[in-house]
């Protein structure tokens, strides 16, 4: 029961983007389309889970004074592995995410979970925490990405979902940078209203 809690808390209750407001830089940058959002979310989930495992395994060996550089080395290694493997086996996804993958290193969700959770917990809860937080991050990206892509390009996952007349002159601002800020702000506000009402 407790383990399920570690896994599920990332989706809504402690959603990294909407509640904890972590990792906003990649959130704003990659959500211009749903495809990008899914790719970035899954890559970050993979790195987060792997780094949580390693960090919970070696937490007793790392002196607390140098724990941050150690975490960064572990995370950066996994990011590089993801980068190389994606480049070799899924070149199409890599082409559109290429710029953002190195940004995972400084995605504060990953360092945040390493510091706040993995360095204090055993391996199994750390895996679940990583998966849950990662998928919660992915969920948030997909929600924002869907709104932006439908409004800004009239498409969803690259398929036309709006009338042709709309696609010809869509609400461009939604897929430009200001649209990311506006839509994320509105969503955060909405979630706060719902949470307060409880």
């Amino acid at each position: 029961m407790n383990l399920w809690k570690e896994f599920s808390k990332g989706f809504v209750k402690e959603n990294p983007v909407f509640i904890m407001a972590l990792g906003l830089c990649p959130t704003l940058a990659v959500t211009s389309s749903v495809t990008n959002a899914i790719g970035m979310g899954l890559a970050a989930t993979f790195v987060l889970t792997c780094s949580n495992v390693i960090i919970s395994l070696i937490k007793d060996l790392i002196p607390s004074k140098i724990r941050i550089p150690c975490f960064i080395v572990v995370i950066a290694s996994f990011v590089t592995i993801v980068d190389l493997v994606m480049n070799a086996y899924t070149p199409e996804v890599h082409k559109s995410l290429g710029l953002f993958i190195p940004l995972i290193v400084v995605n504060c969700i990953i360092l945040g979970r390493a510091e706040a959770f993995a360095s204090k917990n055993k391996v199994l809860p750390s895996i679940l925490d990583g998966l849950g937080m990662g998928l919660g991050f992915t969920l948030a990206l997909v929600v924002i990405g869907s709104i932006r892509e439908v409004l800004g390009a009239g498409q969803w996952l690259g398929m036309n979902v709006m009338p042709l007349a709309y696609i010809k002159s869509p609400m461009l601002v939604a897929i430009l940078a200001p649209g990311a800020f506006i839509i994320m702000g509105l969503l955060m506000g909405l979630i706060n209203i719902v949470n307060k009402g409880k």
Binding site: C70, I81, L84, L172, I175
Partner: protein, 200 residues
């Protein structure tokens, strides 16, 4: 003192293991990454020059560019430049055209275009292969509609309509259109010069 040496050693150990793993993964993937790149380029070439089945790389060395003397800079950045194009052969080993990559900075990114040229120096097809221009405006340069505007154009016609040419520019993205058009025109000129020189 001992404590700090120990800290350093722990960090050294962790980074050493990490770099070992990275070297291993790099060894596994680097060949595949190189191969992917070649395949992607080859496919783009085929797409812009569909009659050709085989390509042969050619290199032209261009004279150094004369740059305006800049009082703020001591170094004049100019050297011999290279222009790379490919001869396209059909199944009977006859030359059917040429391809090259045109590249110029647009509004917010380097725009690279693969260009296929017919033997009579008109454009067969073009394909924008790399850009990160403004979504919805400049990024539309990668659409079939815009790329189709270049088909059958020759070097003299290669200017956007605002500059008096025959290429209708994208709405609200003249800079991107101009980058694509001018880079292709420049490449076409070098290619034509190279052809006359070799008497081909």
């Amino acid at each position: 003192m001992n404590y700090f040496v120990k800290l350093g050693l722990v960090l050294l150990l962790i980074t050493a293991i990490a770099s070992g793993i990275l070297a291993f993964v790099n060894g596994l993937t680097s060949e595949k990454i190189k191969a992917n790149k070649l395949v992607a380029e080859q496919e783009a070439r085929k797409e812009v020059l569909s009659e050709a089945s085989r390509f042969e790389k050619q290199t032209v060395t261009l004279p150094a560019v004369e740059t305006e003397p800049n009082p703020l800079k001591n170094k004049v950045e100019a050297g011999p430049r290279q222009f790379i194009y490919y001869l396209g052969y059909n199944d009977e080993s006859a030359i059917v055209g040429y391809t090259f990559v045109a590249s110029q900075y647009g509004y917010s990114s380097e725009v690279k275009t693969m260009v296929g040229v017919n033997l009579d120096m008109s454009i067969a097809r073009i394909k924008v292969i790399e850009q990160s221009e403004t979504p919805g405006l400049g990024a539309n340069a990668a659409t079939a509609d815009f790329q189709g505007r270049f088909v059958d154009m020759n070097q003299e016609q290669l200017q956007v309509d605002k500059d008096g040419g025959a290429i209708k520019s994208l709405t609200g993205a003249t800079i991107t259109s101009r980058a694509v058009t001018n880079s292709i025109a420049e490449g076409m000129k070098i290619l034509a010069d190279a052809m006359t020189e070799e008497g081909k």
